[in-house]
């Protein structure tokens, strides 16, 4: 155990010697001075745990000595000796933050020892309280730090927190990587690691040592470091290294050298220590958040790309149908106009043909609109849609392929269904997907039954095919991306459909049926404008 060092200052040599002897015998490391100036010099040169000082000295007032001592070594315990037992003295001593009072002459050495013990204990307690008091606001600060995920704002918060809680105006956040020291954030006068070799070396050394480093420009300490501080006009500084995984940081806090700025105390060091570690972890978090945000954005982008790809893939299969949807009505219109244009045609018949032409063109325009809706990228306008209308449209586009495969399409649809709020092109995409899936499931023909009904809160449409069905071990995976049982598929059709349905607040399920084939039940809520 390190012995406690005591500096005794009393102009009376007898007293000084007596204290020296008594305390040395008790195991303390004692230095006795009768010259107060030399005593103050001692304080500059070495660390003491306790100062025992006579208040009344001819040359220098004991209280002045105490003030100086507290400036140079703020945590030092102070025991005042006085032959002058006035209340005044006692009060003044208390105000000065002294830890004990001893009346001269003291009867027994025990009295001295006890008072010394008392003073040391009291001083310790004071310091502990100061530490706790200093740490309490830390909880609030760390909460704030961890809530901030933006790196720049976080750095701002960290430097402010250090300045506020350590009551200093100079703060820096350094990072050490592969031997190079760089400054990440700074306020006020700090070690210029980028331009000063000595500064960089100091920070690098602190990082290498891995322990906090306190420098006071005056008083005992490392001369080089002290010189650096002084050259920056700083009075005291603390450097805390925090090494995590492959990232080494060093936090720096310094107070100016002006007389009103006291040097850092033990409590300050503790607080800075805890604060630094929290700060570094908070920075790590912020980086992780940034990475995560980045990742999510990339995932979203690729999801969009996949959605488009799936759409295009579906589209590719339908170009033939599109041509048909457009050319057939045009042919009819041409025929009707030809008929209407014949001079031997009675007027009513002409009118009839014109009306038919008009009807066909109308139909054609609606089809074009629906197709534009579908193929226009990013058209995500929510509007009231008639799912029956969309269903019929999709069926007509796929009719040729279905026919070719000898798939009998049976519909069990009501005359009307309530309109729902949805994105028209996306609902079409679901229908395309489910119908094309049914088509692929029935390579040698079969039946596709589509039924629909209105529910209180939406519409339900069921697509039932008589095809190969989905094996039990795959039933859970069908909605997963890239899960495809067919060639040339993106494996995304059902995934995309599922996502669209969910985004609309609906449900898409594979219904458990006994008969062969697959049955998909789609539910879409009535929704609202938003």
């Amino acid at each position: 155990m390190e012995s406690i060092s005591v500096l005794v200052v009393d102009d009376e040599p007898g007293i000084a010697l007596l204290c020296d002897r008594v305390l040395s015998r008790a195991g303390y490391d004692v230095i006795a001075e009768t010259n107060p100036h030399r005593a103050i010099q001692r304080l500059q040169d070495q660390q003491f745990d306790l100062l025992v000082v006579d208040i009344r000295m001819p040359e220098v007032d004991g209280f002045d000595v105490i003030s100086r001592a507290q400036m140079i070594q703020p945590d030092i315990a102070v025991l005042v000796m006085t032959g002058f037992g006035t209340v005044e003295t006692a009060i003044r001593a208390l105000r000065q933050g002294v830890d004990g009072l001893l009346l001269k002459p003291f009867q027994k050495s025990d009295e001295l020892l006890q008072t010394v013990r008392q003073a040391l204990d009291d001083n310790q307690r004071k310091r502990d309280t100061a530490r706790v008091a200093a740490l309490r606001p830390l909880f609030e600060v760390t909460e704030t730090l961890f809530a901030e995920t933006d790196r720049d704002r976080l750095l701002e918060l960290i430097t402010s927190a250090i300045r506020d809680h350590l009551k200093c105006s100079n703060v820096a956040y350094y990072q050490v990587e592969d031997g190079t020291v760089s400054v990440v954030a700074r306020r006020g006068n700090v070690l210029d690691v980028e331009n000063s070799q000595a500064a960089a070396q100091l920070v690098g050394q602190v990082d290498a040592d891995g322990t906090p480093f306190v420098i006071n420009a005056t008083g005992p300490g490392e001369a080089e470091a002290q010189a650096l501080l002084s050259s920056l006009g700083l009075g005291s500084a603390i450097l805390i290294p925090v090494a995590r995984a492959n990232l080494h940081s060093v936090l720096f806090a310094a107070r100016d050298a002006i007389s009103t700025d006291r040097p850092f105390r033990g409590a300050d060091l503790e607080m800075f220590f805890v604060l630094s570690r929290q700060a570094v972890v908070a920075m790590e978090n912020a980086r992780l958040y940034a990475d995560l945000r980045d990742y999510i954005r990339r995932v979203e982008d690729s999801q969009q790309a996949l959605l488009r790809a799936e759409k295009m893939a579906a589209a590719g299969r339908l170009t033939a149908s599109i041509a048909h949807e457009v050319n057939n009505p045009l042919q009819s219109v041409q025929n009707c106009l030809h008929l209407a244009g014949r001079e031997d045609m009675p007027v009513e018949k002409r009118r009839e043909y014109f009306a038919l032409a008009e009807k066909e063109l109308d139909r054609l325009m609606k089809t074009m609109q629906r197709m534009l809706d579908f193929y226009r990228p990013g058209s995500i306008k929510i509007q009231q849609v008639d799912v029956l209308d969309l269903l019929h449209h999709v069926l007509s586009l796929t009719a040729q392929q279905l026919g070719q495969r000898k798939i009998d399409v049976r519909t069990d649809l009501p005359d009307r269904l309530p309109l729902i709020y949805a994105v028209s092109s996306q609902i079409q995409q679901i229908f395309f997907n489910l119908i094309l899936n049914a088509l692929d499931a029935m390579p040698s023909g079969g039946t596709l039954t589509i039924s629909a009904r209105a529910l209180d809160n939406g519409v339900e449409i069921t697509f039932r095919d008589s095809g190969l069905g989905i094996p039990p071990d795959r039933r859970n995976n069908i909605f997963e991306p890239f899960f495809s049982t067919k060639e040339g598929g993106t494996g995304l059709g059902l995934t995309v459909s599922y996502n669209i349905v969910t985004a609309h607040g609906g449900t898409l399920d594979l219904v458990d049926e006994q008969e062969p084939g697959a049955s998909f039940r789609l539910f879409l809520p009535l929704g609202d404008k938003q």
């Binding site: 042919q331 009819s332 026919g403 009998d408």
Partner: protein, 99 residues
């Protein structure tokens, strides 16, 4: 000479307009809305020419051609197609129909 033509198309306006035009040209024309009905008709009536839309729900045009060729080989068939895909053209030629 009044030929008996059968028009097969699921779309009413297309069917009607084509039928009317042909009638005005002097032909005897009947029309049915789907392949099944077309086959039935050819089975029970003498038809000289069938004009059928390629793409229809249920039995499509190609199938109608095949069946008609079987049950009434002397009936000519014209396949109407709204999309000029090479595939369907080749297929049609193979079944020896007029384009």
């Amino acid at each position: 000479m009044r030929s008996h033509i059968l028009v097969v198309d699921d779309e009413p306006v297309a069917r009607q307009s084509l039928t009317d035009i042909l009638r005005l040209e002097g032909y005897t024309v009947n029309s049915v809305p789907n392949g099944q009905a077309a086959v039935e008709y050819v089975r029970t009536h003498p038809v000289e020419l069938v004009i059928v839309d390629l793409r229809m729900p249920g039995m499509d045009g190609l199938e109608v051609v095949q069946v008609v060729n079987q049950i009434s080989p002397e009936t000519e068939v014209i396949l109407l197609t709204a999309f000029g895909s090479t595939e369907s053209a080749i297929q049609a030629l193979r079944l020896r129909i007029h384009d």
